[in-house]
């Protein structure tokens, strides 16, 4: 059963799903939803399967997913034969879920700030830039503590979907005027993600950092 990703190349949420699929070396069908500009997500056939009208949307057989972190869990669980991207080990797994919730929570302020800065879209945060900066500080602090134990990645001693869920926001920080010089650990971590086999970029993510 092939994966169909209802995609938009400029969205961080769609990028994290494309990135995981690429890191796993998976083929998938991508269908562009005409937004930014456009209201392709308001089309009746789209709302019928996805009443919230969110982009991206992943369809695989009977499974329809509209939340990017759920897509990462699903892809890892079903298609990662090595079982590393979503570890079975209870400690690493718990940390993955912790950071997925973070990615789906306050870290979404970075994308809200980005869409506001680039396309003038009204954010759902009172001050999306401030929330984004605080979220970056939290990740930086976490990575600093991990580094004291000799660890580089977010939830395990190797990359997991927690890293993939967080990476786009960090890689696109320049779009909202946040410089990496404030966050040296984040930069080191981002370089490790760049170095993974199968890594791909999106507009706004530099080829080389």
């Amino acid at each position: 059963m092939a994966i169909i990703l209802y995609n938009h190349d400029l969205l961080a949420d769609a990028y994290k799903v494309r990135l995981l699929l690429s890191l796993l070396g998976m083929d998938f069908e991508r269908r562009t939803v005409g937004i930014l500009p456009g209201k392709g997500n308001d089309a009746p056939h789209y709302r019928e399967i996805n009443p919230a009208g969110t982009v991206p949307m992943l369809v695989e057989g009977d499974i329809v997913l509209t939340r990017p972190e759920a897509m990462l869990v699903h892809i890892a669980e079903r298609h990662d034969k090595g079982g590393r991207w979503l570890p079975a080990d209870p400690v690493a797994r718990a940390h993955v879920f912790e950071w997925l919730a973070f990615a789906a929570g306050e870290l979404t302020a970075t994308e809200a700030a980005r869409l506001q800065a680039m396309f003038g879209l009204a954010p759902s945060f009172a001050d999306a830039f401030a929330v984004a900066r605080t979220a970056f500080r939290l990740i930086e602090g976490h990575l600093v503590r991990r580094s004291l134990d000799g660890l580089t990645f977010i939830a395990a001693d190797y990359p997991t979907i927690a890293d993939i869920a967080i990476f786009p926001a960090v890689a696109l920080a320049a779009d909202i005027g946040i410089g990496m010089e404030e966050f040296p650990r984040l930069l080191i971590w981002a370089r490790q993600i760049h170095a993974l086999p199968g890594f791909v970029t999106m507009p706004g993510v530099r080829e080389v950092i």
Binding site: H8, P37, M118, G120, D175, G177, P203, G204
Partner: protein, 290 residues
């Protein structure tokens, strides 16, 4: 924020919205040259631009529609909107590509648009290749008869020149700056190599160092969907946006000593010289709010 007093800036035409987006039930609040404005469409289909706040609160500004956009002016331009014959060819697709907000002067946007040297580094594997970074000799001139800046005989090797491209091509470019804030280019069309696709970048100077960019594609392309064409252009412009957001100053220095020109900068040098002859200051580093 108040309207600029720069007469050269006031006496010109600017895009302030996409025609299709402004409907009777969907007016547009925006800002031009520091002045808040309201762009509306009446039930008879015509558009209106009204100044909001400031010394001339409520004044109607001239409004016209061309090439899929709403244009306005606060002053008295000595010419109409520039001609663009290709837009009227029956087999052309005229596709507006949305808007992008940029924290840089509109003059910076035009200067970046004129620059070929950045293709391999900023638009890697699309508009340029890292192993073919050379900008060949070309000509740039101020055409006094039409009061425009042209750069001709530009050639650049491009891995993926357009949405419809099947492979690399040696693209021929002609650049045309029609007003200080509006620029277009003609480039080899992958589908019809004897014709030129037209790509325009219109910028709305919101403030001296902030802009709204409106890319426009006027292309011969029987394959791509509108979404494909828009996506191709949006991706490229967002790559440019990173560069534009990081340039300092955010305004354009007109003093030729401020930045050292290279051979590739001929068009930029002609453009700056032209801005100086027009006495345009808005959006330049030398501009000061009166």
């Amino acid at each position: 924020m108040t309207m600029t007093k720069d007469m050269a800036a006031l006496n010109d035409w600017y895009v302030v919205g996409i025609s299709a987006d402004v409907r009777p039930a969907a007016p547009r609040c925006t800002r031009l040259l520091g002045q808040d404005i309201l762009v509306t469409r009446k039930d008879d289909g015509t558009v209106a631009v009204t100044l909001e706040g400031g010394d001339e609160d409520g004044r109607a500004a001239r409004a016209e529609e061309h090439y899929g956009f709403i244009w306005t002016t606060f002053g008295a331009p000595n010419r109409g909107i520039f001609p663009l014959a290709e837009a009227f060819e029956p087999d052309r697709r005229v596709v507006t590509c949305g808007t992008v907000d940029v924290g840089a002067s509109g003059l910076r946007l035009v200067e970046n648009f004129l620059d070929m040297a950045h293709f391999p580094f900023v638009h890697t594997d699309i508009l340029g290749a890292l192993d073919k970074p050379e900008v060949e000799q070309y000509q740039a001139e101020i055409r006094a008869d039409v009061d425009e800046v042209w750069a001709t005989n530009c050639r650049f090797w491009q891995p993926l020149a357009a949405a419809a491209s099947k492979g690399g091509q040696m693209s021929h470019y002609v650049y045309r700056v029609v007003t200080p804030f509006n620029v277009l280019l003609y480039k080899t069309c992958p589908e019809a190599p004897d014709r030129f696709d037209v790509i325009a970048l219109f910028s709305q100077p919101v403030e001296a160092d902030r802009s709204i960019a409106y890319p426009l594609m006027v292309v011969v392309d029987s394959i791509s969907t509108d979404e494909d064409i828009v996506m191709f252009q949006q991706k490229i412009f967002l790559q440019d946006r990173i560069i534009l957001e990081n340039q300092r100053p955010r305004t354009l220095p007109l003093d030729p000593r401020a930045e050292i020109p290279t051979r590739a900068d001929l068009s930029s040098v002609a453009y700056r010289r032209w801005l100086k002859t027009k006495a345009l200051r808005y959006g330049s580093y030398e501009y000061e709010e009166a």
